[in-house]
């Protein structure tokens, strides 16, 4: 029996709520990073609802990883692109 989209989003919110004290004790910059991760988990709510697994937190982690993987690929491409565009940098100094 599949879960509906709303229930999975609710599960994410419940997870966030259960981490409330953890989040409170984080530095502000780390709180922002945590919020970004859970935003990624919410983005894949429909896939999560479709799978309907007993332990939804694993699916949330996977969803976070998917977003990170995509960002990694994008950044790698950007770096490669910049390296081809910037002409011959003076050779890196050998450590003196």
């Amino acid at each position: 029996m599949g879960r509906t989209l709303t229930t999975f989003t609710q599960l994410v919110w419940q997870e966030i709520e259960s981490l409330r004290r953890y989040r409170r004790a984080l530095r502000q910059e780390d709180q922002q990073a945590l919020d970004t991760l859970f935003a990624a988990a919410r983005r894949h709510s429909s896939a999560g609802a479709y799978l309907a697994r007993e332990t939804p937190f694993e699916i949330m982690l996977l969803s976070m990883l998917i977003e990170q993987q995509k960002q990694l690929v994008a950044l790698t491409r950007k770096v490669a692109d910049l390296e081809t565009r910037v002409p011959a940098d003076p050779p890196a100094r050998v450590a003196s």
């Binding site: 004290r21 409170r24 004790a25 530095r27 502000q28 910059e29 450590a95 003196s96």
Partner: protein, 752 residues
């Protein structure tokens, strides 16, 4: 000295008090500068509770002959219980017999609860009469020196008190740096009233006679020594008995010198040694080398602690700060008519707020953001734990009281406990005057310019700070006499909540949290002025209702990496330069007792050079100069000219020398001393030099300083390694890697 005819009224300072046959012997330094021995017919009491037949058995066991006693039934309270209990009060007419009597009863009667049996009698006497060590008092006496009335005319809570004009005689050993018990022979130096003499030990009888002469002529109130407890006094007494001459160390000629065996104990997670004690009657012996409070706060700090805790000066000098705070708690209990239960042994010294960080998870910590930062403000909560205990009324008997369970304002954050909103607890009542006296000293300090007065005020406030620091461990913890784990948990829960509130307030105002430990925060905001940091402190104080102050604004501060993993930050390890030009350093060799002097000197020079930098960019520019300094020190080490003082490594031994399982340098040096017949106890400090750190034979690696003779040489390479380590921790965050550091400071290398 018992003057035949005394005036009926005396004024003076209370020098000493101890149990005697017919009461308490009380020594007064009177207004005519005389030292008089008086007697107060004081009868100490103790209390017993238990089943009727057991109490009857005690009554039968009480020896009446030779030691008169008075018994009666009275009602007293147990801490935290509203109903009084009937207890049997026993008054002992001869205080000097009190300890033996109690010890015997404790052994014989195991069905009875004992109360008030192990509070030292001088303290009981002080509680009863409202006195304290070195109090200024007024005494009414009879012609034979018996006290009819005595009362203090000043208060232990006065901040402007005068100390009596004490005559001090100092005894030390010529040119000693390390423990004389570990070897070597030396002459006795006597300093008194501005004169210094050297007494040579060739003729024992003459030495004793000359010392007696000085004691009679100057009649000192205090004998201040270095190594007096473990070395000088024991040897002088042995010498005196060998040459059959009495040594007039005691002012009370009827008494022998008091003796206590050495012991080892735990404090702040480390094992420490107490070298035993040689205490005097009518005169005070204080050994600077066997006194935590003397080392931390000097004689003014010792007097301050003795006055507020009412622990006699000689005892306060040698005991732990925890005993002092416990004594204050006992006094509060005694005045409230609360029974003080007997404890078989005092608990170990508890941890400071900072120490809890590693062991207890009690306080909250934010690991520092590694590296050097500019314009950083440090904000400190003033005496956070004691302030929490008083602000939120945390005490063993107020936590989870029966009257406030449903009051939401009484709730402790995070955990299910609550504290009483109706009655102020024993612990807060003990701490409130202490907190306010320290605050008064700090205000006086801020308004005083004279350096001598400032030093005394600072030593006094530091002495109170130590009592406050240990108060949490002693008053909140389950092992303490009135301790309770729920009180301990409540304090740490509040401390976490308060640090979180402080963090939120700072972040809300746009500050970044760089580092925080329990009661201190380091925060940064680009362009923030002193006014902004002060405003932040006020906002935090308003939200948390606890006092917090700006400790200072750092021009720059470096949070330094772990020596094991350079990517790991370490709490409370930093070097910072305040905008005032003062520096603050934590966790570096320069602050460590065990680092050799040469390493400390080099590190101090590097830091002095870096301190000229105004910005982090300028810091990087100073690295070259820092490298030159290290290079010069390595050159000096390699040249073989380093002196013994430069090279000594001082380590405290954590166990008996035979009990070490690994061949650590400390173990090797300890065993060398053992072979020379030196008896060592855990916690004692030993001194050694590294002679050949990589030698295959363990005995060749290090030598104990006390056994060094003419022929020895040091391992320059091993000291260079220590030097490089001490430089690396500072310079690595400025972009210098270990290989470069080694190469660029190598005196033999062409690269520098």
């Amino acid at each position: 000295m018992r003057p035949a005819c005394l005036p009926t009224r005396l004024r003076g300072w209370l020098l000493d008090a101890y149990a005697d046959r017919a009461g308490m012997a009380v020594w007064l330094l009177d207004e005519d500068n005389r030292r008089v021995r008086l007697l107060d017919p004081f009868r100490p009491t103790f209390y017993l509770a238990g089943p009727r037949h057991a109490l009857d058995a005690v009554l039968r066991a009480l020896p009446r002959r030779g030691c008169p006693l008075t018994t009666r039934w009275v009602e007293r309270h147990e801490l935290g219980s509203p109903d009084p209990v009937p207890v049997l009060e026993v008054a002992v007419h001869q205080p000097s017999r009190f300890p033996t009597l109690v010890r015997r009863l404790l052994q014989q009667c195991d069905q009875v609860q004992f109360y008030h049996v192990d509070v030292p009698l001088p303290q009981r006497y002080f509680y009863e009469r409202g006195l304290f060590p070195l109090a200024r008092c007024e005494v009414e006496v009879t012609v034979d020196g018996t006290i009819r009335a005595i009362h203090a005319v000043d208060s232990p809570w006065d901040t402007g008190y005068a100390t009596p004009p004490l005559t001090i005689l100092e005894l030390s050993l010529e040119g000693r740096v390390s423990n004389p018990n570990h070897g070597g022979v030396c002459n006795l130096i006597v300093r008194v009233e501005g004169e210094e003499r050297c007494l040579e030990g060739d003729d024992g009888a003459e030495l004793v006679a000359r010392l007696n002469q000085l004691l009679h002529r100057h009649d000192p109130d205090v004998i201040l020594t270095d190594w007096g407890d473990s070395y000088i006094l024991p040897r002088l007494l042995t010498l005196a008995s060998r040459v059959r001459l009495p040594l007039a160390l005691n002012r009370d000629a009827d008494r022998p010198v008091g003796m206590q065996a050495p012991r080892s104990y735990f404090s702040y997670g480390r094992i420490l040694a107490n070298a035993g004690a040689r205490t005097l009657y009518g005169r005070l012996h204080v050994d600077r080398q066997n006194s935590f409070v003397m080392a931390e706060t000097g004689f003014p700090g010792l007097i301050e602690q003795a006055r507020v805790t009412k622990v006699p000066l000689q005892h306060m000098a040698r005991t732990t700060t925890g005993t002092g705070i416990t004594a204050m708690q006992l006094e509060t209990a005694h005045h409230d008519g609360i029974l003080i239960p007997y404890r078989k042994r005092e608990p170990e010294e508890f941890k400071s707020a900072l120490e809890l960080l590693h062991t207890d998870q009690g306080g909250l910590v934010y690991a520092p953001v590694l590296g050097y930062h500019e314009n950083v403000g440090e904000l400190d909560f003033a005496s956070m734990y004691p302030s929490i205990m008083t602000r939120f009324n945390i005490s063993p008997e107020t936590v989870n009281c029966s009257c406030c369970a449903h009051d939401p304002a009484a709730r402790v954050p995070e955990i299910g406990h609550h504290t009483c909103r109706h009655r102020t607890g024993l612990v807060p009542r003990t701490l409130i005057p202490l907190l306010s006296k320290r605050a008064q000293y700090k205000r006086l300090l801020a308004a005083t310019a004279d350096p001598m007065t400032r030093q005394v005020l600072d030593q006094r406030q530091t002495a109170l700070k130590w009592l406050l620091v240990v108060s949490f461990g002693y008053l909140g913890y389950k092992n303490a006499r009135f301790g309770r784990i729920e009180a301990h948990e409540s304090v740490t829960a509040y401390s976490r909540e308060i640090l979180l509130q402080a963090k939120e307030t700072a972040e809300h105002r746009g500050f970044r949290l760089l580092h925080a430990i329990v009661d201190s925060l380091w925060v940064h905001k680009p362009g923030a002025t002193r006014g902004d940091y002060e405003a932040l402190a006020r906002a935090i104080a308003a939200r948390t209702t606890l006092p917090i102050m700006v400790e200072g604004i750092y021009r720059w501060i470096g949070f330094l990496p772990s020596r094991v993993d350079p990517r790991m930050p370490v709490p409370n390890q930093f070097v910072g330069m305040f905008e005032t030009g003062e520096s603050k350093i934590r966790g570096l060799e320069i602050r460590r007792a065990d680092a050799p002097l040469i390493v400390k000197k080099a590190q101090a020079e590097v830091l002095r050079s870096l301190s000229q930098a105004q910005t982090v960019v300028e810091l990087r520019a100073h690295v070259t100069h820092a490298l030159e300094i290290i290079r010069a020190y390595r050159h000096y080490l390699q040249s073989g000219r380093a002196s013994l003082e430069d090279l000594i490594i001082a380590k405290s031994i954590s166990r008996e020398p035979q009990a070490y399982r690994h061949q650590t340098m400390t173990a090797i040096a300890a065993r060398e001393l053992l072979r020379h017949g030196v008896r060592l106890q855990p916690g004692e400090t030993i001194h050694y030099v590294m002679t050949d750190a990589a030698a295959p034979l363990a005995e060749d690696r290090v030598r104990a300083v006390a056994t060094l003779d003419g022929a020895w040489s040091y391992d320059a390479r091993a000291y260079e390694t220590l030097l490089l380590k001490s430089a690396r921790v500072i310079l690595a965050p400025l972009g210098l890697n270990p290989t470069d550091l080694d190469d660029l400071t190598n005196p033999g290398s062409s690269r520098a």
